[in-house]
């Protein structure tokens, strides 16, 4: 198991966003987290890189283990270098070029060697399936790209620091269908080397890209299991109602 979550509870102020969530994520698999708005799915992934606690009133309890080590014992900075994150809206740094965006994390780590930076940038952009589109204009601003390209740029930026886990918080929700297809194809390729947790609103997407699916409702983990099984033969009535579109 790459990640084990045991009895995770999370709050915003007095508002409890996650209640006693326990689940495990095997190495190099894709877990989709689905559920209606406000069910705690974003909070769940944001706990995994301890981004949740950067918000003023937020706190969490329970145990999250990454490779046998409790993430509570990590320095958050170190943890986030091993657990990368892609956000709902593409958020490249607007003052930086494409190249600078991809290498931002490496430069924060203190890497200064230009050749090394450029070669890692090329590898990361290739992994993110963006290289062919940007190789001629690496010095143009990152925000000059289209929305879908910006999101792949952000994926390249996350990959450049060589993480083991990728968290994706509704990575396609602001993208058009073609860009969405690009990202989904990318997830298929990335699962070979990375453990991926993807939050999505889109059930077809969950069914397409994931090995396992977790269904959250009002902070409770209602059902968790192999994606095929969960979508064809759910155990819980609420899961069935949600995936057939009767609520949510």
């Amino acid at each position: 198991m790459k990640i084990k979550i045991e009895k995770l509870n999370a709050w915003f102020g007095k508002n409890q966003a996650l209640k006693n969530v326990s689940l495990a994520i095997p190495v190099n698999t894709v877990l989709a987290v689905i559920g209606p708005s406000g069910c705690g799915k974003s909070t769940l992934v944001r706990c995994l890189n301890r981004m949740h606690e950067t918000i003023g009133s937020a706190k969490w309890e329970g145990k999250i283990v990454l490779d046998e080590e409790s993430i509570a014992d990590f320095d958050p900075v170190t943890l986030r270098r091993r657990v990368g994150m892609i956000f709902q809206r593409p958020n490249p740094f607007p003052t930086m070029s494409i190249l600078e965006n991809v290498t931002a994390g490496l430069r924060l780590n203190g890497m200064r060697n230009k050749k090394e930076l450029e070669s890692i940038a090329e590898i990361s952009l290739k992994k993110a399936a963006l290289w062919e589109e940007v190789k001629e204009k690496l010095h143009q601003p990152g925000v000059s790209l289209s929305g879908g390209q910006q999101q792949r740029l952000c994926i390249a930026r996350a990959l450049a620091v060589d993480p083991e886990v990728l968290l994706m918080d509704e990575p396609c929700s602001s993208l058009d269908p073609i860009s969405t297809t690009h990202i989904e194809e990318l997830i298929h390729e990335l699962r070979e080397h990375y453990t991926i947790v993807i939050v999505t609103h889109n059930m077809q997407q969950a069914a397409r890209v994931s090995d396992d699916t977790a269904f959250l409702y009002m902070g409770d983990l209602v059902e968790h299991g192999a994606t095929k099984k969960l979508f064809t033969n759910p155990k819980e009535k609420r899961t069935e109602e949600y995936i057939t579109g009767r609520f949510g």
């Binding site: 890189n49 900075v77 986030r80 956000f87 809206r89 490249p92 607007p94 996350a158 620091v161």
Partner: protein, 302 residues
């Protein structure tokens, strides 16, 4: 309909009135300073001598005094103000942000004559008895610390100006930092940036032009500040590298000598200094506003 018509016209008049007042002010200053402009032309700005007795008017000592006192004030105020702004926008716990911001902004509400009094009664004696002798003793060989410890002079003026512009620079740059979208901070944090790195990479870089705008607004205030400076700067139209030497600024010479200007040319020369100051502050403020506007909407959304 009719009420709306009157409403629109009245507010329009008010709006244009302020434009008219500014233009009129510039025009009147130009009229008043015309005799002096005719007398010395551009030489006025680069002539070092200011001697009303023999009708010899050069504005360089005042231009120098204004630029140097404001420049020194900026050097002192920028790190402090940015520190305040970063603390309030990025680091302080939420319950502290409002009260501290309020108190810092209160500094701007203190009348400048109070700053002048504080400078005269507290700061100047402190400089004269403790600070200046220390520097003269140790570093007197440098031109910046030459001369006797008067207390009054360039240094206290610059310190007062720095304190007076801290609220402007810090509150506007805090607004600029708060306008930086949260997803920018999260982008940096998710890459494993520390808090300081997040501030540097995501916040300061994103808000750079707005922060420069805030600094320029502070500069605008410092250039035109009159009362407090007049009270502590020593009012001597000399150009000296020493921070301890009495000096003069464009604003302070107008305040000081206007009442005793005995001839038309003397008055006209003071008006010309006013005109220069008017144009410079106008320009500085314009640049500042443009810079602040640029960060409010800097980058096209996705």
């Amino acid at each position: 309909m009719r009420a709306d018509f009157i409403f629109e016209k009245t507010t329009k008049v008010f709006a244009f009135l302020s434009v008219a007042i500014v233009s009129l002010m510039g025009f009147l200053l130009l009229m008043e300073s015309w005799p002096s402009i005719q007398q010395s032309g551009f030489l006025f700005l680069i002539k070092k001598v200011w001697d009303p007795v023999i009708h010899d008017y050069g504005a360089l000592p005042f231009v120098y005094g204004t630029l140097v006192s404001s420049g020194l004030a900026l050097i002192m105020a920028i790190p402090l103000s940015l520190g305040v702004a970063i603390f309030l926008s990025e680091l302080a716990p939420y319950y502290l942000r409002r009260p501290i911001a309020f108190l810092v902004e209160l500094l701007a509400a203190i009348p400048s004559v109070i700053y002048g009094l504080w400078g005269l009664f507290y700061l100047v004696p402190l400089l004269r008895e403790k600070v200046e002798p220390f520097f003269i003793d140790r570093f007197g060989f440098l031109p910046f610390f030459e001369g006797p410890p008067y207390g009054i002079g360039m240094l206290p003026a610059a310190i007062l100006l720095a304190i007076m512009i801290i609220p402007i620079i810090s509150s506007i740059s805090r607004d600029v930092m708060q306008a930086v979208p949260q997803h920018q901070r999260e982008a940096a944090l998710a890459l494993g940036a520390t808090r300081w790195e997040t501030t540097r990479v995501a916040v300061l870089r994103y808000g750079k032009s707005g922060i420069f705008g805030a600094i320029f607004l502070g500069l605008g205030r410092a250039l035109g500040e009159t009362m407090a400076v007049t009270m502590v700067i020593g009012n001597r139209p000399d150009i000296s590298l020493s921070l301890f030497a009495p000096s003069h600024t464009m604003a302070s010479v107008i305040a000081n000598e206007f009442a005793e200007a005995s001839s038309d040319l003397y008055l006209s020369a003071l008006a010309e200094i006013g005109l220069v100051l008017f144009l410079v502050t106008f320009l500085v403020n314009m640049i500042a506003r443009l810079l602040v506007m640029k960060t409010a909407k800097p980058f096209a959304a996705v």
